[in-house]
């Protein structure tokens, strides 16, 4: 092990450096120059995102505690890109007076969670995994409670934090069982020694629930709606995409590596929870009036679809999960971007407020429509391809009826996505949201998200690329 091998951790190291730079700029500038702070944060992160895509070698460190593979690196890059879009979209909100002097705080917290997620993804050991998870969670609670004098925000923060603590407690209990059963917590050791007994099954279930909590799988999902609603729009957006995607990725890799021997246990678990998640998520989503809450349930339902890919247990399924996650990130960011833009401008976040939006803000509406259609899975927008491949993967592994339930659920989901479309295009409104111009960053954020959801589907090579990377996991 030499200094060079530290470069395997390039993503994390750079992010840590970014946090430090942010901190330094805050200390030096005192946060007085709002404009500079924002530009600095965004531009720096753009650089980070771009650097992330530079070629990098893969391998393990710390005796296997830290590992990277092309798929992991891709995932990190997707997270970076997603976070970058969030950064773009958050600028207009941070500019507001209420956030004076706290701009860098936001960026520092958010990059911290990203570091946590990166470590979590790269973990080769449950300790590393746990640390990453907590690093991703605790600043998130702080972010959720970011709006200090807002009850909802504080409520969201405490709900997230306490429930996350409970969930990690339970997960830790499971990890301790695993430790008791198999001597080591290194994944490589666990893969070797894993066998089915009551301790490992218990460990599987508890670790699964801990991650399911992060992905918001029914019945571990209840925090989602309240936290999403209470947290600031950008935090919600970030949570719904980056946090969820990373957890889903980790869950997938854990199941396929550490718990590969317990496949016959986790397959039915995924089956049941997936059905429950899709169905309940959809049923709850139908009656939501608040866009954030609505997106919370929508994202719950989407999580159920992710399981279709995981459950298939094939390379095809896994690569499609990553593919789907990428699409999901862009789609959600498109929707949240528009919702955020509107919220920042008018403070409105009810779906009814969107009535007549098309007449006044056609461009925003179009982006929102793309995002919603992508989530609903309507071609030629990327979401369709993601879902279609998930179904194909699941059916290829013989999950016919699960797929049937899933497609029926897409119809319910289509219904509530169309409700927003209806509000924007059809419902007449005496006083619609007036026309407004978004700032440059917001525009870029929306454009990038839109390009993402359009391009990922049309360019078949992307899926092919992901497929070839995924060898790292199996």
């Amino acid at each position: 092990m030499n200094l060079n091998s530290f470069l395997l951790m390039r993503h994390e190291l750079i992010l840590i450096a970014v946090v430090l730079l942010y901190l330094a700029s805050e200390i030096i500038g005192g946060g007085k120059n709002k404009r500079f702070s924002l530009n600095f944060a965004v531009v720096l992160f753009l650089a980070v995102t771009i650097i992330g895509f530079l070629p990098i070698s893969t391998g393990t460190m710390f005796g296997g505690m830290y590992q990277t593979s092309p798929a992991i690196i891709l995932m990190k890059n997707i997270l970076n890109a997603g976070a970058f879009i969030v950064f773009l979209q958050v600028v207009s909100w941070l500019k507001k007076e209420e956030n004076d002097n706290r701009i860098m705080e936001f960026f520092i917290l958010i990059v911290s969670t990203l570091i946590g997620m990166n470590y979590m993804i790269s973990a080769g050991d449950f300790l590393m995994f746990y640390l990453g998870l907590e690093l991703a969670t605790i600043p998130m609670a702080a972010l959720a409670a970011y709006q200090v004098y807002n009850l909802k925000s504080a409520e969201a923060g405490i709900k997230l934090l306490l429930l996350a603590a409970l969930s990690s407690g339970i997960m830790l209990f499971g990890i301790s069982m695993l430790y008791g059963a198999s001597e080591s917590l290194y994944f490589t050791d666990l893969i070797r020694t894993m066998e089915m007994n009551s301790m490992t099954v218990l460990a599987l279930v508890f670790i699964f629930s801990g991650l399911a909590f992060k992905i918001s799988i029914v019945p571990f999902h209840f925090w989602t709606a309240d936290v999403y609603e209470g947290a600031p729009m950008s935090v919600t957006s970030y949570m719904s995409v980056i946090s969820k995607a990373s957890a889903a990725f980790v869950l997938m890799s854990l199941l396929f590596t550490v718990f590969a021997q317990l496949k016959e246990i986790w397959t039915p678990i995924l089956y049941i929870t997936s059905v429950l998640t899709m169905t309940l998520g959809n049923l709850f989503a139908i009656r939501q009036r608040n866009i954030k809450r609505f997106m919370a349930f929508s994202s719950i339902a989407q999580a159920g679809f992710i399981f279709l890919g995981i459950i298939s247990g094939t390379q095809m399924g896994m690569s499609t999960v990553i593919y789907f996650l990428a699409i999901y990130i862009f789609s959600n960011l498109a929707v949240f971007g528009v919702a955020g833009a509107i919220y920042n401008q008018t403070g409105k976040e009810l779906i009814d407020d969107y009535a007549g939006l098309y007449k006044t803000n056609p461009a925003l509406t179009l982006v929102m429509t793309f995002g919603l259609f992508s989530l609903a899975g309507i071609p030629p927008i990327a979401g369709f391809f993601g879902k279609f491949f998930l179904f194909t993967a699941a059916m290829e592994s013989g999950f016919l009826w699960l797929t049937v339930i899933a497609v029926l659920n897409t119809i319910i989901s289509l219904y509530y996505y169309l409700l927003i479309v209806k509000a924007m295009y059809i419902t007449p409104n005496e006083s619609p949201i007036a026309f407004f111009r978004s700032d440059f960053y917001m525009k870029m954020g929306l454009i990038l998200a839109t390009i993402g959801i359009l391009v990922i589907g049309f360019i078949g090579g992307i899926h092919h690329y992901i497929y070839n990377l995924s060898f790292g996991i199996l």
Binding site: M316, F385, F391, M395, Y425
Partner: protein, 498 residues
């Protein structure tokens, strides 16, 4: 760029061009130009196709092109046409053109209207040229989803409810269909090896019968719902009633044919064994639907409802004929798709024009329109005659072919079903003449109507195009029928009986 892909590219370019227009006048001119080119392309395709066949090309699909799309799933942008799709492409070209002229008067959000309309058309064209199930399905959904906004924004009546119902039912059906399509893919290579979405390759594969039993009904119902298969037709009356004119035209004229085409080519064509096994059940549904739709139409007072139920009845014949598994009946099915496409588009355009003048669609509020608007009323009369299957018009050719084909089954069950379906043409006469009688004849009920004008030039374009198509097909059906027949023969080779 090959001749088939241009069929998608041109409407897409038209959409882009429309996106940069300034006002509704530019929009409609560009739309007219775009669809004009498209119409020319469609006819050119028919011509090229006939040339190709005349030159001795006996491949099942001609003008095939294949580009890899998603390599790992073996998804390709596979395109190609045979006689059936060529015929339906020509139909689409004509209806879209007529539809654009029928919406000449759209001024409110004209840009968006034409964009969605052309997007719908793009989906339809793409569907007909695709021979890769995935690509086909993508285009299928592209064709369906614009309906929501087209009805929701530009519709009338309880448009939001109708649009939502239509979209959900159709997308629900397509969701079921999606499962069937994936099923076809997964069982496309029983011996192991690469799987395929390609229809031609799938046709050579026999899926295990127990899987066919699951996937055939899914595919048939999935497509059937779009083809107004009883009892999945209820989106149609509300949807048509609320939709704006051109949308009704395109939807009933073209989009609903996607259902029949898919049921023929995919459900029955690729899973023939299960199809034959389960045909009896769907035959009961379709035969019942044919009569039921006709009876349902008798007591309606809203013109669009009458026509919607009439469509239910006529489209049931298509699905019925498809289940007969012989070339004659299936030929009739395709002819009926085309014929019904023209006729129903004509009807809906007329209803739209009449509604635009009288502002009511209730037949009892109108009467004696023959006196005030002889061209429109006369055309309505012609459309009525065409719809009730009079010789000289396309529907006669189609229906007779269906009946003759269906009658080739000597057993009592088929006989009774066929006669039941045939009897629907009498009921059709009842409701068509009832509507025409009340609407066009008798004394003028409302004095305000006396000052109404007759058809304008762009309306005449719509009417002439459609009537021309109906009569040409009705009077000289041979070339069309033979073209379709030749393409059906290879498809039927996989069938066990007849």
């Amino acid at each position: 760029m090959d001749i088939l892909s241009l069929l998608i590219v041109v409407p897409v370019l038209t959409i882009l061009a429309i996106a940069f227009t300034k006002n509704y006048k530019q929009v409609r001119v560009i739309a007219a130009i775009g669809t004009g080119i498209q119409l020319f392309q469609s006819f050119n395709l028919v011509w090229q196709y006939l040339q190709e066949r005349a030159a001795g090309n006996t491949a099942i699909m001609v003008f095939t092109k294949s580009y890899i799309w998603f390599e790992k799933f073996n998804i390709k942008y596979d395109i190609g046409v045979d006689g059936i799709s060529v015929a339906l492409i020509a139909l689409t070209g004509i209806i879209v053109t007529a539809g654009v002229y029928a919406s000449w008067g759209v001024k409110e959000q004209a840009k968006e209207f034409f964009i969605w309309l052309l997007l719908l058309a793009t989906g339809v064209f793409g569907f007909f040229i695709a021979i890769d199930l995935f690509t086909m399905f993508v285009f299928y959904e592209i064709a369906v989803i614009p309906m929501y906004l087209l009805i929701g924004v530009w519709g009338s009546g309880k448009k939001e409810y109708s649009a939502m119902k239509l979209t959900l039912m159709l997308m629900g059906a397509s969701a079921i269909l999606l499962v069937a399509i994936i099923g076809l893919y997964i069982y496309s290579n029983p011996q192991g090896g690469p799987l395929t979405w390609n229809i031609l390759e799938l046709a050579n594969v026999t899926m295990p019968i127990e899987m066919q039993r699951i996937f055939f009904p899914m595919a048939f119902v999935g497509f059937g719902a779009l083809g107004a298969l009883f009892p999945f037709h209820t989106w149609s009356p509300d949807g048509h009633a609320s939709a704006p004119t051109a949308v009704s035209m395109l939807h009933a004229g073209v989009l609903m044919k996607l259902g029949g085409y898919g049921a023929l080519r995919i459900a029955v064509g690729l899973m023939p064994e299960a199809a034959q096994e389960q045909a009896w059940f769907f035959m009961i549904l379709t035969a019942f639907g044919a009569v039921y739709g006709a009876f349902g139409a008798i007591m309606q007072t809203d013109l669009k409802y009458i026509n919607a139920y009439s469509s239910v009845s006529h489209l049931a014949m298509i699905l019925f004929a498809i289940l007969m598994f012989n070339a004659t009946a299936m030929n009739g099915a395709v002819l009926q798709m085309i014929s019904h496409g023209f006729i129903t588009a004509l009807f809906f355009s007329l209803i739209g024009m009449i509604y635009g003048r009288t502002h009511t669609r209730d037949i009892y509020k109108m009467g004696g329109l023959m006196k005030v608007m002889p061209i429109l009323a006369g055309t309505y009369m012609v459309a009525s005659f065409a719809s009730l299957g009079l010789p000289g018009f396309s529907a006669f050719v189609a229906e007779m072919t269906i009946f003759v084909g269906a009658f080739q089954h000597p057993d009592l069950f088929h006989r009774v079903a066929t006669i039941l379906v045939a009897s629907s043409i009498v009921v059709t006469a009842v409701y068509i003449l009832r509507a025409a009688g009340i609407l066009l004849m008798g004394p003028i009920k409302n004095d305000e109507f006396k000052s109404l004008g007759d058809a304008l030039w762009y309306e005449k374009v719509t009417l002439i195009v459609l009537i021309g198509s109906i009569t040409v097909m009705g009077m000289a059906p041979l070339w069309l029928s033979d073209m379709i027949m030749k393409s059906l023969t290879p498809m039927l080779q996989g069938f066990v009986t007849l």
